[in-house]
């Protein structure tokens, strides 16, 4: 085919719908967010945005701020550090608890257990349910009143007798006693949020890993069996190295998913400050305080972090792969 002008024009026309959507909704807004993030503006119809340099970023990372008139220090409620730590904690829990669990189950399932597909299909089911629904459902499960099933179960078994005072003794952020308000204290809220995340996404990672394990060439496994490898050795030396690309995808998904996480916390808690995440803080700054510059700064930080972590994880997985080969 000759590369005539019409040919080039056609290429452009084929790309056009995708380019309009992609540049219009994703790429241009990133640039706009970056510009907004160095401005101060409190109304979306505001055309006179005030340039403030890095002030928004400094505000987000100052635990305390000085009153410009009196010079007195006050606690900055726009501080993003805690939210960032929370999202990294969630990422850590996902990578070091959720993924190993998924891997163990996927390894067991893929070895020809009777009904493996049925098990897999059931474990995958929560992935399809809206995170809002899951958040709301778990809010009911955690309900501190009479109807909450978790506390009802603990009461029936008598566990609350010693568990609740023990949790109370660990709580330093509040003087209130713990009587089953799982999402009401800083010390318990993040853990309470992690359980539904674990519950919802364990099946997703399991499915990916299962598919990966099923893609391991049977000759490899047969050869290992002939060499007298134990199941553990096969897992460690053949299957896990083989499915490394999938493990990488799972780790990236778990980490960036935790950074971006919004729906679950927003649906699970009336007061998100107990387990504030960057995106819930951003939502508040944007739509409760109308601080569009500050909100955009959080967006820019999130975009940067997602890319940095995706890159770091890719690098980490590539290095090890080279050593093995």
């Amino acid at each position: 085919m000759k590369k005539t002008f019409t040919y080039r024009l056609n290429i452009f026309l084929f790309l056009l719908p995708a380019l309009i959507l992609f540049v219009g909704v994703l790429i241009a807004p990133i640039i706009m967010s970056a510009i907004y993030s160095v401005h101060d503006f409190n109304s979306i119809s505001d055309t006179n945005m005030k340039f403030v340099g890095l002030e928004n970023y400094i505000t987000l990372f100052s635990r305390e701020m000085a009153n410009p008139e009196t010079g007195k220090l006050f606690t900055n409620d726009k501080f993003m550090g805690d939210a960032l730590v929370n999202s990294l904690l969630l990422a850590g829990l996902s990578v070091f608890i959720q993924l190993p669990l998924s891997l163990i189950i996927a390894l067991k399932l893929s070895k020809g257990i009777r009904g493996e597909r049925a098990y897999l299909s059931i474990f995958f089911m929560p992935v399809l349910i809206s995170t809002v629904i899951i958040g709301r459902l778990w809010m009911n499960i955690y309900d501190p009143g009479k109807a909450g099933i978790l506390n009802a179960g603990l009461r029936t078994l008598g566990i609350d007798q010693w568990l609740f005072p023990w949790i109370s003794s660990k709580i330093t952020s509040s003087k209130l006693a713990f009587t089953g308000q799982w999402t009401g204290f800083r010390e318990t809220a993040l853990g309470a949020a992690f359980v539904p995340i674990l519950w919802q996404y364990i099946g997703y990672h399991m499915l990916l890993m299962y598919a990966g394990i099923k893609g391991v060439p049977p000759e490899l496994l047969e050869a290992a069996e002939l060499d007298g490898c134990t199941e553990g050795q096969v897992n460690r030396h053949i299957i896990i190295p083989y499915i490394k690309p999938i493990l990488k995808v799972s780790v990236i998904f778990a980490v960036t998913g935790s950074l971006k996480s919004f729906d679950l916390i927003y649906a699970l808690m009336k007061d998100t400050t107990k387990a504030e995440l960057p995106s819930t803080l951003m939502y508040k700054l944007l739509f409760l305080h109308n601080r569009y510059g500050l909100g955009s700064a959080i967006a820019v930080i999130l975009i940067a972090l997602c890319f940095i972590f995706a890159l770091l994880i890719t690098l980490a997985f590539r290095d090890k792969g080279e050593k093995v080969a």
Binding site: A18, F22, S121, F124
Partner: protein, 295 residues
Amino acid sequence: MKERNRKLKPSTILVHFLLLVLVFINIFPLYWMLTFSLKTNDEILGYSYKDPETGVRVQVAPNHVGLPHQWEWSNYAEAMNTGNMGLYFVNSLVVAVSAIAITMVASFMATYALTRLVWKGRKTMNKFFMLGLTIPIHASIVPVYIILSRMNLLNTYSALIFPYAAFSLSMGILISSGFMGDIPYDLDEAAFLDGCGVWGIFLRVIAPLMMPAIATVGIYTFLQCWNELLFATIFVSSGQYRTLPVGVQQLFGQYTTRWGPIGAALSIATIPTLIVYVFLSKRIQDSFIAGAVKG
């Protein structure tokens, strides 16, 4: 065959036992949701009454995990009528189907240019589109909100359809590339010799062979749109265009203490997806695998 008939080993029994425990953990919250969606508040919370004959107060314990004593279908009627779940359901459907259609057309066309037409820079362009797999939707919230409000498009279906389509595009292109790569190039050649131009080849040869991709891309996009909350909360504030996730969220504000209608709303939003899953479980799982494995 012999192996199957052999007695089960204790270790196998243990594995099955543990897996069944996991199945229970998976299913129980959903079972519980369905049961409380059919109960009255009295049954959920427990209540007491004065026995008319003896005059003694009788305590009735809450029915936490059992099936409803009396099936309160009125909870569903209330969620549908007062809670408007029917309308939100239709809205979600309109938004999801439109976004799927746009994603599909745009990503098939782009994939065709990226994989079957030969030109300098197509690899770079492909990488450019793949950036979308990592870009979080937060990137777009403020700018897109401002653009939509200046164009008077807040509170319309379009306010959700186009952003959803844009954010599904990268995955659409990724999945389509896999499918389009499997179509033999001889077909393009033959069609070209028969006098087809690039558009003719795309419409008559490639598009009809992309049927399997339609299911995969469609399922993936559908779930993204159906479950999305952040855009849906911010870009649409009027009830007329509200989608299911936001509708459920709002309903909780209305019925803070009434469990039945809340459970009914949760169930209405969940059951259709699960029914579709029962029939298409393999396909749905494949669409998730296709997206992740090629990434």
